[in-house]
Structure formats: C-alpha cells, structure tokens
Amino acid sequence: MAIEVSHPATGQRLRDLGFQPGQPVTCVQRSPMGGPRAFKISSGVYALDQELAEAIRIELEKG
C-alpha cells in the first residue's frame, strides 16, 4: 500500500490510522451514488471519499 495525497495532513492521518505498507485493507461497502466507500483496516472501519480512496495504491490479494 502506498499513499499519494495532495493534502499532507490527511496523508499523515491515514498513516497514523494504519493505512500503511504491508497492512491488509478491505473495501466493505460502496455507498450510493458514487459517494464515499468504507474500508476496513486493522484499527477500524473508515469512510473515504473517492478522491482519497484513489490516492491509496494497493495490491490485490489472491483468494
């Protein structure tokens, strides 16, 4: 996982919450009308808007 956010404070916050390289992340829910999506990481579930979700690069896990 890698994060490229234009807003530096948000990037730092994401890392502090546990959006870190090597950590598993699951998209648990897409909200209606292309709104924010909910992602589960080890510390909890967070809603991120599209712009933010797109800034997080992930690798797909098999299975």
Binding site: L17, G35, D49
Partner: protein, 596 residues
C-alpha cells in the same frame, strides 16, 4: 485543587466515563452534539477535565485543534496531577497509538498516566481474552479494566485516581509500530465484533435500502417531534393557563394585575410550551448519534452535499441546527475542510430551529385550516410545518451552492475521512441528561431575553393610557413609523413591533404579540392568541409572508455572537445578517403577491 485530564480517541466512551465519574449531576457546560469543548466536573477533591476526542497530536479538524492546544498548555503549565487515557478494548491498536503519544508528552512534563481500558462489557459478553498484567508491565503504568456503560471497575479506577501514580519515561516515538506490537501481544481478537458491524452496514449503507432507511429515519424524527411532544405541550399550556388565571386574582385590579397577566403569563408562558419539542429532538438525535448511525448518515449524504459546497460531516450540524443554531455552529468544528466549514456555518441559520417553532405553530394554527388530506392520513397543518422546514433547507442549499462557486469561497479544502464506529445500543442515562440539559439551556438563555423584552414592550404599550388604550401608547407611535415597510405585506404596526422585538430572539414574536393583545383586550385577555390574530383582520397572504420571513431572517443575537466567535471576524456575521434580512423581506413580498 488537583486537576485530572481525561483524554482518548473519539468514540472510546470517554464522555460516558466522565459522566459516570462526576455522577451525572455535575453542571456540564456542554451542548448536545459532538463534544467540542473541554468539560469540567468534580469528584471528591479532584477536578476532572474531559477533552474532545483526538486520534493523534497532529490535529486535523478545528475540534481536534482546540483539544490538543488546551491539553498541551495544561501539561506545560503544570496544571495536571494525572492524565487518564481512555483506551477502547475493542480497538486496542488504534487507542494505544494515541495512548503512547499521550504517555510520551506527559512524561516530558513529569505527569503520570493511568490507562482506563473501556468497553470491557463488550469484551466479556463475547468471551474475548486479553492480558492486562502483560500490558501493564509493557506500558509501565496502571491499566484498569472498566465499562463506562455498566459501571464495572469504577471503584478501582476512583481509588487509583487518588493514589500516587508513577511517571514512566518514554524514549521511542515510533508510536504506530509499538501500538501494533502491544495490541497483537496482549489484546483480544476482535474480528467477531467487526462481523456484526458489517452485517448492519450492508443494510444501512446499501444503495437502495440504505437511502430508503435514511429517509424513513428522518421522517420518523420529524413526525416524533410533532406527535410525541403534543401531549406534553398541551400539559405545559394547561399549567401555564391555570397558573396565570389563579395568580392574577391574588392581585388587586389595576396595573400590577395587568402586568402579571399580560407580561408574565401572556408573554413568557407562551414560549415554555415548546420545551417538550426541544427535548424530543435532542433525545432522538442523541440516540442516533450514540447508536453509531449518524456517521453512516454523514457518509450517505456526503456526495449530494458536496455538490452544494458542503461535506457529509455538515449533516450533523445541519440536523442539530433544527434544535438550535448555537450548538450546531460549534459542531461545524468537526468539518475537516475550512471552506466547507464556512459554508456549513452559513447554512445553519436557515435550518428551522426550535425558536421558530412558536412562530410557525402560532401562525399555522391561525391561518391553515385543521383538515386532513390524502384520505385522513396527513394533516394540512402538519404538511405546512413540513413545507416550512423544507423551504429553509432548500434556501440553505441554494445559498451554499451559489456561494461555493464564487471566488469568495476559496479557502483550503481537505478530503473526506470519517471513522464508522461500531453499532451500539445507547445508554438511556446520558441521553436523558443531555436532553434535559439542552432544555435547560434553552429556558435559561431564551428566558432571560424574553423576560426583558416582554417587560419593555409591556411598559411601552401600557403607558401613558393604561389598559385598553394601546392605540395612544408610546409603543403605537413607535410602531407607526414601521408601517410603510410593512404595508406591502398587509401587516399593521403591531406585527411590526413584534418583528422588530424578535430580532433579539425569534420566540419573542409570540410573547410580544401576547403582551400587546393582552393590554389591548384589557379584561378579556384569557382569549387565546390564535383567536386574537384571526380577529385582528390579518389575511392569509400576510400570514404566509410572515412565515416566509421567519424561515429566512437571521433574528438571533446569540447566533451572530457565536458566528463571530467561531470565525473571528465581524465582517461575515454582519454580511450574513444584512443579506439574509434582505432576502427574507424580498421572499415574503413575493409570497404575499402569490397568495393574495
């Protein structure tokens, strides 16, 4: 007196813990909604300070900035004897991430930290295991298992607060990795809890059912304010009427009796009727907040609100704004983007707050017939209420959609990031105390203004002629100056005086009219205000234009003062006041033309 700070992650049950420690009877100087101010309370010989929840010391939103700044300054000024850091046992890694940083900062100021491991009821009911002894040794500080919900562990916690705790020096600043290690080594396996949360989320966040559920919940909310509160409102009205009738007879006929009947019971009594509605609104909003649903509602609303220049996090302030604009403006601190926060602050005053309720209720009762439509399912008066609320919301969205597309609004933006807390069954005690507290806030804040205004209006309207001679009073000659402005809407000077007085606070409108009709009617003032208005020759078109005016105009000194405080300038509140006033006048003129 020694001071103890309580800190922790948002949603870690900090406020409930604080309320339980201080016994809930403490005067909590906090508005409902999110904790955005530091609250203080007392336990035995100690002062407890509850700081708004933070994730790390790198504050992002305005509420976090307030919390971090205050906490750091209290630490640096040696004002703290102890820091209680509340940990959420169901989210140990994330709570420890903050806990380690708190310990690090506190050690620098030589202040000990005590950890309260909250949510133990959830851990126990799911038969989860964790190693307290190991964690305690690794942290070098006491870790006390508690449940703020059930009260488990509070005796031990209170004792530990009185005992001397040790300061543990911390050298590593890699809080994230250390917290992950500790949680893995000593914490419980909490994946079970997540399964339940995602089952609910599949319903509440699903594209179709989720939106339907949202609409349904909002409908129930507004329906409840009008139906559940009605018997209580009738009761308050009956009490005020009987008290007024009985008390007035204790005084000899003349000035004092007139004052008691017109100014005290006619003026002030008329706004107390609306307290039950405020109670139910704050109770239900509090329930939704504590259950974890409001975060989902914010997520669902984000996309549509973004188009109007707002954020999903604006939803909570806008909802709170239907009770009162003041806590709502404070609640905007949680909106992460400064420019969307400004837009939210501008939108809040257009939400129909409870102070407008008396005005709406009075005018609707006077002009809208009490008939049912759609086969007896919907009342016309109820629909009129709904239309007024909707009109306010539409106006607010229009204003923010337009302003957010002008060069005026080029502040800093920040992306939307929101934690979705687990669903919980709310505890009735804090809910109840918060709702009662907000009713009391309303009564004490609005009551003082209303008392002063009604007394002034009564004096100006009573003299020099006395009862039954208001046409020749000082108030009448002042009111006649206003007539040219009001003529286009078919309003006479009495309504002009009531509107003018209500620029201090909207509820004053009802009290002022009550007082004036009381003086005018001299002895027969026990006739209801609704009938007085109907008999005063006011047309329906004038009634509707008055309603439209009250939806838009920013007639609340306290709201303007809070806006100034939050934005740090007089410029924006002044502009908002003037432009909303002009907009209100213009729209009510148009409404008068349409309905006459």
């Amino acid at each position: 007196m020694d001071q103890i700070a309580i800190v922790g992650k948002p949603n870690s049950g900090k406020s409930l813990l604080f309320n339980r420690l201080t016994g809930l009877r403490q005067k909590v100087s906090n508005f409902p909604g999110i904790t955005v101010e530091v609250k203080k309370g007392q336990v035995q010989s100690l002062i407890l300070a509850d700081f708004p929840g933070i994730y790390t010391f790198e504050a992002m939103t305005k509420d976090e900035v307030v919390s971090v700044k205050k906490f750091v300054s209290e630490l640096e000024n040696n004002n703290l004897k102890l820091v209680i850091c509340v940990l959420d046992a169901t989210k140990l890694a994330a709570s420890l991430r903050l806990g380690l940083e708190v310990q690090y900062k506190a050690a620098k100021s030589n202040v000990p930290v005590l950890f309260a491991m909250n949510m133990m009821d959830v851990i126990d009911s799911n038969n989860l295991k964790m190693d307290f002894q190991g964690l305690q040794e690794a942290l070098g500080a006491h870790v006390i298992p508690v449940s703020a919900k059930t009260g488990f562990g509070f005796d031990t916690l209170k004792q530990a607060m009185l005992d001397q705790q040790n300061v543990r020096a911390v050298d590593s600043t890699d809080f994230y990795n250390r917290s992950q290690e500790l949680a893995k080594q000593f914490g419980p396996q909490t994946d079970v809890l997540f399964l339940r949360q995602s089952r609910f989320d599949r319903i509440f966040l699903s594209p179709i059912i989720g939106v339907l559920a949202f609409v349904l919940i909002m409908l129930v909310l507004f329906q409840a304010i009008f139906t559940w509160a009605t018997p209580f409102m009738d009761f308050v009205e009956w009490v005020m009427n009987s008290l007024g009738a009985t008390t007035a007879h204790f005084f000899p006929q003349g000035m004092v009796r007139d004052f008691v009947a017109d100014a005290i019971f006619g003026g002030i009594g008329s706004f107390l009727v609306f307290v039950p509605q405020i109670f139910f609104l704050t109770l239900i909003v509090g329930f939704l907040e504590d259950s974890g649903y409001l975060a989902r509602a914010a997520m669902i609303c984000h996309r549509p609100l973004k188009w109007f220049g707002l954020s999903g996090k604006s939803f909570i302030p806008l909802l709170t704004g239907h009770a009162c604009a003041i806590p709502a403006i404070f609640a905007t601190r949680a909106v992460e983007s400064p420019r969307r926060r400004l837009m939210t602050i501008l939108a809040v005053p257009l939400m129909s707050c409870s102070a407008r309720l008396p005005v709406y209720a009075l005018l609707i009762a006077a002009f809208i017939p009490q008939v049912t439509v759609a086969g007896g399912l919907l009342g016309l008066q109820g629909l009129a209420f709904f239309a007024l609320y909707l009109f306010g919301i539409v106006m607010a969205l229009l204003v923010t959609a337009l302003l957010s597309r002008t060069p005026l609004n080029q502040g800093e933006d920040a992306p939307f990031l929101l934690e979705l807390p687990p669903y919980r069954l709310p505890h009735w005690q804090p809910l109840l105390s918060r709702s009662l507290n907000s009713c009391w806030q309303f009564i004490s804040k609005a009551g003082a203004i209303i008392f002063v205004v009604t007394v002034v209006v009564w004096i100006l309207g009573y003299f020099p002629g006395g009862a039954g001679h208001m046409e020749s009073s000082w108030l009448a000659s002042m009111g006649h100056w206003l007539e040219p402005i009001l003529q286009p809407m078919g309003l006479n000077w009495k309504y002009g005086v009531a509107i003018l007085a209500s620029f201090l606070a909207r509820e004053v409108f009802v009290g002022t009219l009550g007082t004036m009709f009381g003086i005018e009617g001299a002895e027969e003032n026990m006739v209801g205000l609704v009938e007085n208005i109907q008999n005063s020759g006011l047309t329906m078109a004038s009634g509707v234009s008055l309603l439209v005016f009250y939806v838009i105009a920013l007639q609340c000194v306290s709201t303007l003062a809070v806006m100034k405080k939050e934005l740090g300038s007089y410029k924006i509140p002044t502009l908002v006041f003037v432009s909303y006033g002009l907009m209100a006048y213009l729209c009510s003129l148009i409404a008068y033309q349409i309905f006459s």
